[in-house]
Point group: D2
Chain length 319, copies 4
Amino acid sequence: MPYPQAVLDIAEQVRNWGRWGEDDQIGTLNFITDEVVRAAAECIRTGRRFSLAYPLKLDGLQTGAIPGRVNPLRTMVAINACYSGDPTTFCTSDDVVVMGLQAATHWDGLGHASYSGKIYGGRDAGVITEQGATVCGIEQIRSLTGRGVLLDIARLKDVDVLGPGYAITGQDLSDAAARQKVKIRSGDIILVRTGKMALARAGDLAAYLGASDPEAHLPRAPGIGLSCAPWFHAHETAAVATDNITFEVLPWDPEVPGAVLPMHCLHLVEMGLTQGQNFDLEELAADCAADGQCDFFLEASPQPFVGGLGSPVNPVAIK
Amino acid sequence: MPYPQAVLDIAEQVRNWGRWGEDDQIGTLNFITDEVVRAAAECIRTGRRFSLAYPLKLDGLQTGAIPGRVNPLRTMVAINACYSGDPTTFCTSDDVVVMGLQAATHWDGLGHASYSGKIYGGRDAGVITEQGATVCGIEQIRSLTGRGVLLDIARLKDVDVLGPGYAITGQDLSDAAARQKVKIRSGDIILVRTGKMALARAGDLAAYLGASDPEAHLPRAPGIGLSCAPWFHAHETAAVATDNITFEVLPWDPEVPGAVLPMHCLHLVEMGLTQGQNFDLEELAADCAADGQCDFFLEASPQPFVGGLGSPVNPVAIK
Amino acid sequence: MPYPQAVLDIAEQVRNWGRWGEDDQIGTLNFITDEVVRAAAECIRTGRRFSLAYPLKLDGLQTGAIPGRVNPLRTMVAINACYSGDPTTFCTSDDVVVMGLQAATHWDGLGHASYSGKIYGGRDAGVITEQGATVCGIEQIRSLTGRGVLLDIARLKDVDVLGPGYAITGQDLSDAAARQKVKIRSGDIILVRTGKMALARAGDLAAYLGASDPEAHLPRAPGIGLSCAPWFHAHETAAVATDNITFEVLPWDPEVPGAVLPMHCLHLVEMGLTQGQNFDLEELAADCAADGQCDFFLEASPQPFVGGLGSPVNPVAIK
Amino acid sequence: MPYPQAVLDIAEQVRNWGRWGEDDQIGTLNFITDEVVRAAAECIRTGRRFSLAYPLKLDGLQTGAIPGRVNPLRTMVAINACYSGDPTTFCTSDDVVVMGLQAATHWDGLGHASYSGKIYGGRDAGVITEQGATVCGIEQIRSLTGRGVLLDIARLKDVDVLGPGYAITGQDLSDAAARQKVKIRSGDIILVRTGKMALARAGDLAAYLGASDPEAHLPRAPGIGLSCAPWFHAHETAAVATDNITFEVLPWDPEVPGAVLPMHCLHLVEMGLTQGQNFDLEELAADCAADGQCDFFLEASPQPFVGGLGSPVNPVAIK
């Protein structure tokens, strides 16, 4: 079934095509100006650092539910190999990896989604080929650093984990900011916490993917709901990431039942809003709750895979 | 042939085994305290950012000279695939990669080198197995961020690229710091520029590897010489990276002819000093020469490959 | 727990170390002489062919239960790419694969198993390195072709599939041969049918792996029992393959409770008997039951992976 | 430039579209009937076997000249790993591989080539997607076995290796058959020897690819010339393979200068004639010259990669 009119209306409202010129390939990351970064540095008060990456390993987050998105398989090509022949001198160990670029903590590149034959900027989806994203490849994002703001929706709702199928609203985001006493600024990188990552950390990957709906035989999980797109648009958000596996509400936002992953289309295609998944926000969230500071310097630059549709990232929050 | 006595003498001098406790797995990165990071933030003055990563692509830096260190092969598992069946809704493109973890811009993990059967901390080299580094894996470094300092040896010597076989000395490092009017501090991340990366950027990978010595049939390239180890030790350097492919002088430092890659053993095994290679310092160096500021906030956290011997990195310098 | 004495007694009995010289790397495949192959050709009566390979695909036989044994991930590097620039001339499509060498229908190489620090021939297990099998690599088997004989134990027992935990005995093999009126010869390649592959063909991979034992929390599956080793030894069997995933009884042969995969040690290490798994015997078995001819020309040469511990194979039976 | 009229004329002449029904996906392999296989068995006289596969290894035949066609990288996921905890029982070693499906000795699948937007059968080339060949995948060839005939053109011309740029003609094939006293039959698998493989066996991969033409800056190598297509068509050849890397004359057949790889289009697209490359014919050719028997039973079934554009193969000739 096609997208409901509610989705298409928001698409019209948030579309950024041409906003930063015809040749633009990074979308809302243009909001991150030098001044935004300079101001973000003021968030560094003690020098404490938080890595938000989930470990890269063969028994990682992927369960096989998404075809071809393989967990990292790291194998050895040398183990204490001594090419000189004398083991009292240099011996070396070396490794290679096979992995889906979106297997663990990652950014979606703008080429990752298309609909009605278009990607970001209104370009023909045919620019995505077997060579990858010949336009809007992840390498176009040279750096992704600025002020990060954690919006902790699970704490707002006073739960450990948001309920299955819960759709986070723009109002939720505003309420969380108000409760956390943080003013949202242009160019912010917003991290939205559902609480789901605690399940993965505890080893329950099935639960992390989503409790199964006995009727629909589809996973049910909380995620970013429809009204967040206008919210991010209005606040000039540069990038947004979550602590769940598909970013969106599963199987769909109750407000637009049947609509399959509409936020990917609104964010990546219409807005050019880079979005991230599987960010581990647990330690950071506990710290923010403890000291009341929920903004920080965030460094989360992707790896420059030429033509990449996404990239693993080790986001580091610095307070 | 075994290492000359000069190497073994320095090994004694710089050894850090046990310095941060028996269980330590990150070595000199312990120098990066919260206070070091907090002070580093003061280097952010305008918010300008420089990515120091070489692009990840199949025709990358590797020429096959190092067995098994394969260039990134990124391939597609989905191209505008429309799982819902309706192309006016979400369609998706996705990719996987195969790559050597040290193929392009990367950190060597502490497990990458061993000699005389030992890795960092005096541990038996047998802790490196087909599972990777069961101790000192790259995932132990949660974040790698702090003050970066560029020491531009090519500019110090007033050349585009240091000559084949030139061994950078500790005195060179001091001279560059003096000329650049920067005071080296405990916990600094030092980036040493030879100028070689300009050759790779120009597409001449053979020259980047090293002009061949007609007599020795070995590549000849400038790199980090023996006396730098005591220098880094004395200055409590947290990590060090270069803009060449093997870090070291090729085929060897003239001061210790025949010694194969001794700095890997001194740095990784004895000091626990994480070292990086293939950093693209060209744009940053030009900027530092122009504005006279050669220190910056540097974010260069590795990806958390569990048991990894190394990791690709997209280092971002922020001024 | 160590192997029970019953296993060790059989080990003594069937050991072939040195039988074909100190340098031998192919074990019982030495039974396949030119004359054996010549005689096998007489089995070709009509020219009908049966492929015994399970398809190579991402949703293949592996469930993740065996770490690192990944299903084939085949991806595209070119899709109708037109390097000449003129699409009315040659355009090309090309692909690469990542796969465990033992992911689907395969032979175990002789280096695949060791015990008490030894591989086949009594060699130190240290000959298996990160480079693979420096001795007894799968490439040592240049060809594997000769007379194949199907012994259909499921039909012998008049069941679709042998029961969970059933251990096929040497007597079963003799009974099946007698019932099928086939005389076993030196150099035969024996294919033993449990009936399990029908479950995989029907898409039930969990059942293919083995019905779970509620008490032991271990898979339970029928397989080759202890007394088969002396039987293969006495009959000078060249190679043996089954239609199940682990070859052996799961969790163990009731005759030697607690003994973990003893047949791998007896066959690969002691006898040098190459063994295969995941052979799809369903169509062939139906044909043999129909026409009463259960011997055939079998071509099942492995791919020459240098140092390989195993190899995928497309075995073809010709009658 | 478009193909010369001479190519297009032959295309008309040899086209097999629809010959075996609209749904046919294996083309000339339909010539291999049961009777063809039965008769081929008569070639087995002594039981001697010849493997025609080049070893699968990282320093294999590929030089990087063909993008994405990577040599086999086989790495270890377990080395004498002892999951039971008791090293006197089963320990295991296991490996995975990354490789181009056409990296070494291989068959081209029918989907490997397209021109003017068509593949074999006149199907739209769009059936080749990021999923691979959704029609005419290599898995459609269940088995590829029958009578092989070696036509030794190098010996016919009394040279070790055919000269750079030499185009083998249909007349050459007839002359070789006459000299070798072999009658060509419907359903034969023809192996054409140029002598090039001796160069690869000697380690000179640059020479194997082709001596460079100083003027054209293109490799020059002997291969299958234009007039062979009608010859294979007239003789109802089932499949054809060569001992060189690109099958065709490089840079092109002098008869049709500028025509890029026309035989791929004529054979794969028009005829549905499966073709193979990098077959090592050296030992077999010496044997055929010695005993005067140049036909043999050939087993060369591809691995069943679902959607595969090609497949590695270990062809075994049995005399």
